[in-house]
Symmetry: C2
Subunit: 213 residues, 2 copies
């Protein structure tokens, strides 16, 4: 058992070294040698834990995803016992955008991983699986809110889920400074306000699922 734990710990230490390299110098020229140097180990030692660049990148991206899920979990816990689905979706979306240092690292890791995925079937399946699970979580929240009458019945949950996930398109706009963080958050809030617009109508209308529009 302790050996297993050590192995996992060592892998996480290396993954965190990879994150630092990505944050400081980007992913374009990322090599195992560079990550080994950052982790303070030899290339041979690193290769004992990760057989290839793709394997390390996959592990580091998964770990970043787990950390990201933990941050969303903490944000949701802060919303009280039964948070409003609008707040849940907002917490998820905000975490996906590069608005603070941790989510920015995750976002950059993901971007590098997606580019790698385009030309590596195994990486692709892994990236696709992670994104599909994320999409399914968002869709579940949308469907429940729809069933609870918080989202208008004429809104297709699939389309609404896709539009919510597409808001991650703010990533590039933020990274290049074309849109400021405050403007991105305003736009996300406007989008969410409209999605939950039914809540502004009378309860009878909302429950009836039709407002004659």
């Amino acid at each position: 058992m302790p050996k297993q734990v050590d192995h996992q710990e060592r892998r996480e230490t290396i993954a965190r070294a990879l994150w630092r390299v990505v944050e400081q110098r980007g992913t374009t020229h990322l090599t195992l040698r560079e990550v080994a140097r950052e982790a303070g180990i030899s290339l041979g030692q690193l290769q004992h834990y990760f057989g290839s660049r793709a394997e390390l990148l996959g592990f580091a991206t998964d770990l970043a995803g787990e950390q990201s899920a933990l941050r969303v979990g903490r944000a949701l816990a802060g919303l009280g016992e039964r948070p409003h689905p609008r707040a849940v979706l907002r917490a998820m979306l905000v975490e996906l955008l590069p608005l603070h240092v941790d989510s920015r690292t995750t976002s950059r890791m993901s971007a590098a991983y997606v580019l790698e995925a385009l030309h590596d079937e195994e990486v692709r399946e892994r990236a696709r699986g992670a994104l599909s699970r994320g999409r399914a979580m968002v869709e579940q929240v949308v469907r429940q809110a729809s069933a609870d009458g918080l989202i208008a019945a004429d809104r297709d949950p699939v389309v609404e889920t896709d539009l919510l996930l597409a808001l991650t398109g703010f990533t590039t706009l933020l990274e290049l400074g074309v849109v400021e963080p405050a403007a991105a958050l305003t736009a996300v809030d406007r989008h969410l306000d409209r999605l939950f617009e039914v809540a502004g109508r009378s309860a009878g209308e909302a429950e009836g699922g039709s407002s004659g529009r």
Copy 2:
């Protein structure tokens, strides 16, 4: 003059070789040597035209952007003399998404360029400039449509422009096959329908800029 033309032509030939490398093998391991091989010239010859990887990537991305603008121009020309702003915005957005081979190459080039931009100030300024100009074009269409009463007066053109550009977030969902092209187009259309919702009301309401909502 002919020498100048030759120089530009040769640079474009090399840029197209880069596109092919990006399309076939991705950007992660992209080297000048590989591009030279694809272009059928020596590394030394290539370096006569491009001093660095960043310079070549910048030129190739700009060229891809110009081709992309030409495709949008052709699409708009096909819409008749005074196309509806909804159709203009749709043509722009569709071109930004990886829905056919040309726009996919442009999209992948841009993704690689953005990652490079994060750690190279010159590349960053160039990428930022290109994206800012694209954003300004979209905002101009939105503002004109708003002034013409085709978009409700209570919609902030800045927020609406940002939300339209954020729809490029479909790129990753499409590239990984998490969302199908038809679903992405449906979502884009739904978003545009809502943006131009005022058109469904009476002209008096639209011109008044308020419908009591």
